[in-house]
């Protein structure tokens, strides 16, 4: 391996060096500073005689005398089932004092695209125990469903709640039948390694979050025993920014290995994608690229897609990769390029809403702009319940109608509204208070969620339920609730 001391320029996260042998695009580079520190980087552009290198750990300490080695391969990482239970830094080095990682194999962290022909369409319902998700915006195995939040909102609590509670009910039921009695919560993430029925794993990829936030997650993982089934990659706020472009790729490479080679159902939590995108912008600026919208690189869509599309299922393979990326929307604006491009790639999104949060609703999910695109095939008879789709449609419509009336009622007052309109107003309030506001520690089954839905809908006149099949209304509509409401109104 040839060593060069030919650095000609250092600029932001970039280093330029002269070479007299061809160097491959994307290859890994080691730079040794005079202080004996070894930094890693990657070839961004390779031309005859000159390469530009992006240094992950920051270019501090690099000068003209630093030596540059080209490793002749693209960035790879060791993967093994033994990664479970380990805590690594943002570049994949263990920071938990544990033993060295003995790789089963080494995988390219960029990962190849899944052939669309080889995919299997995701349609297995994941019960998160959160009504606003399960009932209205259902998550399925292999989906990529981000949380759109903003600073100061409890998105981490929500992510932890999902990680703790996520289970595939059907499987839990099967396991219950075969497993020894006593383990009644199979399939749950928090259950620890002793229940063999389920093969869940959590990969946590932190990018530029504070140590405090990271600790919240770590404490929760430890408290619930989930750590044993987790692999944690930590790039904290004071770690190098450029490293953030590597961290999610490591997390996803690990996830793909565990899912598609070891058969795990992997849930990947990536937080905060906003910090990742800032790192991309920084690199783009250093390269003097023509910037796209708001200074972010023009290729950010493609770059994000190369992360998010690594979720999914593959025909003939056991496991799955489900992604829950978290992003804090700058200015709580979802037209900002980061949420906007994300929304264009992911299969829906869950909105954490500051207004609901300030009213104390937990989790403060605004179901209306939230969406799960894979919901339609993941719910219904045999998956969740036969009435799920209709109930969901009706809840959405009624909630929207109730919210629409809120503006009006501020102007004209309740008396000016018809009886039916007043019922819709009440519906919207009660929907938020009972359906959405369940608390971060409550874990509702899909049955409970749908029953709450029927409770709420039954306060509306029966003929208003035009999204629901008449047979289902006959079966589920609670005449008594309607009467109760009548009575109290009078």
């Amino acid at each position: 391996m040839k060593e060069y001391q030919t650095i000609t320029e250092v600029s932001g996260p970039l280093v330029f060096a002269e070479v007299d042998e061809p160097v491959g695009y994307d290859e890994i580079v080691e730079i040794e500073t005079q202080q004996g520190e070894t930094l890693r980087g990657q070839v961004l552009e390779s031309s005859e005689g000159l390469v530009s290198i992006q240094v992950f750990e920051g270019t501090g300490g690099i000068d003209r005398n630093a030596s540059v080695r080209f490793l002749g391969e693209t960035m790879k990482m060791p993967v093994t089932e033994d990664l479970l239970g380990r805590v690594l830094d943002g570049s994949g080095n263990p920071i938990d004092g544990g033993p060295e990682i003995v790789p089963d194999k080494r995988e390219d962290i960029v990962g190849a695209a899944i052939n669309p022909y080889s995919r299997e369409y995701p349609e297995e319902f994941i019960q998160t125990g959160v009504s606003a998700i399960d009932g209205m915006n259902t998550l399925v195995r292999g989906q990529k469903l981000p949380i759109f939040s903003s600073s100061g909102q409890p998105h981490n609590e929500l992510a932890m709640q999902i990680a703790r509670q996520a289970t595939v009910p059907e499987e839990a039921a099967e396991d219950e039948a075969t497993d020894e009695p006593g383990s009644d919560e199979d399939g749950e993430l928090g259950e620890g390694a002793d229940d063999e029925g389920s093969e869940f794993a959590v990969i946590f990829g932190a990018m530029g979050i504070t140590a405090e936030e990271a600790n919240e997650f770590m404490d929760d993982f430890e408290r619930t025993g989930a750590l044993e089934r987790s692999v944690v990659f930590m790039n904290l706020a004071d770690d190098p920014a450029v490293e953030r472009t590597v961290t999610p790729r490591m997390a996803l490479t690990t996830a793909e290995y565990l899912a598609f080679e070891e058969g795990y159902h992997v849930l990947v939590i990536l937080t905060d994608m906003t910090n990742y995108c800032e790192a991309l912008r920084e690199i783009g600026a250093a390269r003097e690229e023509v910037p796209g919208r708001r200074g972010y690189p023009g290729y950010m869509y493609t770059d994000l897609a190369q992360l998010y599309e690594r979720a999914g299922r593959i025909q003939g393979r056991e496991g799955s990769v489900t992604q829950i990326p978290i992003l804090t929307m700058p200015g709580d604006d979802d037209t900002h390029p980061i949420p906007d491009l994300t929304g264009y790639i992911t299969e829906g999104q869950i909105y954490v809403d500051p207004a609901l949060n300030s009213q104390g609703f937990k989790p403060p999910i605004n179901v209306s702009p939230s969406l799960s695109r894979l919901m339609d095939d993941g719910i219904g008879e045999g998956l969740t319940r036969g009435d799920h789709a209709d109930v969901k449609d009706q809840l959405f419509a009624a909630y929207a109608q109730g919210k629409d009336l809120r503006d009006l009622v501020n102007i004209v007052g309740r008396e000016a509204l018809s009886e039916t309109d007043n019922k819709y107003l009440d519906f919207a309030d009660r929907f938020e208070e009972t359906f959405v506001d369940q608390g971060f520690d409550s874990n509702r089954s899909i049955d409970e969620t749908l029953e709450i839905g029927w409770d709420l809908l039954s306060a509306l006149p029966k003929e208003q339920l035009n999204r629901i099949d008449e047979e289902l209304i006959a079966e589920h509509y609670r005449e008594d609730i309607g009467e109760q409401v009548e009575a109290t109104a009078e």
Partner: protein, 587 residues
């Protein structure tokens, strides 16, 4: 250059000088613009996009990690072409027409590897060829010489290539042939095979473009009812993320009465393509009763697949469409999303350090878009048949803002505009096509067809609906200020009628087995039923019945169940009777 040609080792016609993502430069390469080249030791496929002195710039259709200066570049001397012939339907391609199923088995992994080529159509499969011309017949370019049953629903017409000189048939025979075997020879010595090649960036020739007068019936009420598209027409569906572009495109791919569907997934999600692959073989074409997949060709260059192949996938798609048009078929092409295509152009252009135009897009964005949509139309083909290509392009404007360059340049070209609206989507009003903003410039030229084939007064009934919706729009502004009860009774009733138009007629659930497809007859009858309610209700109002009583009759809410009613003729007939009698009872 077609992928049917095999490459083992890469010949050193030129040498790589630099690599930066999908853009590679080479020296000493004697190539023409748009020639296909094989790049590096692995022979990655690429295309020449710029020549400057001794330096040639190439966009590479595969990932370039690890490729470095000094590696060889081979020139094929031919432009990017597709293979045309039997075997294109019921298949799924990447952006340069490599069949993804063949790639899977050649690569031996579900992940896309590099440097693997595969012909666009199976070279070994045999097809049953039946001549439709005889020895001695005089043929010209484009003429049909025989037929092959390609799929259950589609007969493939084998044609003399468009660039042939023509001649008299020397020999032609029925039988089983591979696509590379000669099925006919002409007296000029020309041998005709089932496989043709055609460069994707060049439109296939046609004699003439005609004014389209037949609608592409979509089975979607708002489209067929208010904003119809013509067979041979162009439409754009812009909308923010999650507003329903893909569902709308898929609905058209499923239920429109095109003969052939070319569905181009351009830079979008992998799972959406998988969904089509899984669903379409199970679904029946409402026209033929045959599996939908047997009239469909998919092109999938998803967002995480190489960006250069995303740029080319649009051209690949439209060229396949033109080939079926030449057979005399009505083809519908869906491109989801043209914004990703434009972004691919932008990405390549910025790597070339070209002078950027608006929002960083290359200055030729508008020209590329109009060239593409220009390839749509109703055509008189060179063989005398008539065929059409309808193009429906999704547009994904950043931040949902329609003032951006791709939406604006597209709207300058297309004649049907289905504007998706995030407010409607949030309320789960689907399809969330905004009826105030959308338009179709084909309406008038399609009216005769609707009068003749659906109902003589179709245009009038439609106009009635438009008027009611317009009036509602105006009234809503007042309602937002003073509440509904402050309006005069007749206006309150108008709002009630408009509500049924929106909820019972404009809304259509793509995921409901019955509602997902609505024939034009049903679309018309549903509208008539709402009009019956309106007429009867206003008569009751005139007779002094309070609006409260009118709107609380039992029958009216049943209007919302027309869409899901299977026996709709009976259902609507009964409903009209019920509404009539219940309302007349009130006075």
């Amino acid at each position: 250059m077609s992928q049917a040609t095999d490459t083992e080792t890469v010949r050193e016609d030129g040498i790589i000088d630099s690599v930066s993502g999908p853009v590679v430069t080479a020296t000493d390469l004697d190539a023409r613009m748009n020639d296909v080249v094989y790049v590096g030791d692995e022979g990655l496929m690429g295309e020449v996009i710029e020549i400057e002195g001794n330096l040639t710039t190439i966009q590479v259709y595969e990932e370039t990690s690890g490729v470095g200066p000094g590696e060889p570049v081979e020139n094929t001397g031919e432009p990017l072409t597709v293979d045309l012939g039997p075997g294109m339907l019921d298949s799924i391609y990447d952006g340069v027409q490599r069949p993804l199923d063949v790639l899977e088995s050649k690569m031996g992994t579900p992940f896309l590897d590099r440097g693997v080529d595969a012909p666009g159509i199976d070279l070994e499969a045999t097809w049953e060829f039946t001549p439709t011309v005889s020895e001695g017949d005089e043929l010209e370019a484009g003429d049909v010489i025989g037929e092959v049953p390609e799929t259950e629903s589609i007969t493939h017409r084998v044609m003399v290539p468009p660039d042939s000189e023509g001649g008299a048939v020397d020999s032609i025979e029925a039988g089983e042939f591979t696509v590379e075997e000669t099925v006919a020879t002409l007296d000029t010595g020309e041998e005709i095979r089932m496989r043709q090649e055609w460069p994707v960036r060049e439109a296939r020739p046609a004699v003439d473009k005609e004014t389209p007068t037949v609608p592409l019936v979509s089975g979607q009420r708002i489209q067929d009812g208010l904003f119809p598209l013509a067979k041979g027409g162009t439409a754009a569906i812009p909308g923010p993320f999650g507003s329903g572009k893909t569902v709308t495109q898929q609905q058209l791919a499923k239920w429109s009465d095109a003969d052939i569907v070319v569905y181009v997934g351009c830079g979008e999600r992998g799972n959406e393509m998988t969904e089509v692959i899984e669903d379409f073989p199970e679904l029946e074409d409402p026209q033929t009763g045959k599996p939908l997949m047997s009239r469909t060709c998919l092109i999938a260059n998803t967002s995480n697949m190489p960006v250069a192949a995303r740029e080319s996938c649009i051209y690949t798609g439209i060229t396949l469409a033109e080939y079926f048009r030449d057979m005399g078929y009505d083809v519908a092409l869906m491109a989801d999303s043209t914004s990703r295509w434009a972004e691919a152009m932008r990405e390549i252009s910025s790597r070339l350090e070209e002078m950027p135009g608006e929002e960083g897009y290359p200055a030729y964005l508008a020209a590329s878009l109009s060239e593409f949509y220009e390839r749509a139309g109703k055509f008189e083909n060179i063989n005398g048949t008539e065929g059409s290509i309808s193009v429906i392009g999704a547009v994904s404007p950043p931040g949902g803002d329609f003032s951006e360059p791709v939406t604006q340049n597209t709207l300058r070209i297309v004649k049907t505009f289905w504007a998706l609206d995030s407010d409607l989507a949030e309320k789960r009003h689907f399809p969330s096509i905004n009826w105030n903003e959308s338009y179709s410039l084909y309406r008038d030229q399609l009216d005769p067809w609707y009068r003749e084939n659906v109902a003589e007064d179709y245009p009038e009934v439609r106009q009635w609906a438009i008027d009611v919706l317009d009036e509602e729009d105006e009234l809503q502004e007042i309602v937002q200020l003073v509440g509904k009860d402050a309006l005069p009774e007749d206006q309150q009733l108008t709002l009630e009628v408009a509500r049924y138009l929106r909820e019972a007629w404009l809304q259509q659930n793509a995921f409901h087995d019955t509602d997902t497809f609505c024939s034009p007859e049903k679309t018309y009858r549903m509208l008539q039923a709402i009009r019956t309610f309106s007429d009867e209700a206003f008569s009751a109002l005139d007779a002094g019945v309070p609006v409260e009583e009118i709107s609380s009759i039992d029958a009216a809410p049943q209007l919302n169940r027309m869409g899901v009613a299977e026996e709709w003729e009976e259902f609507i007939g009964d409903l009209e009777d019920d509404m009539e009698s219940q309302l007349r009872e009130l006075y």
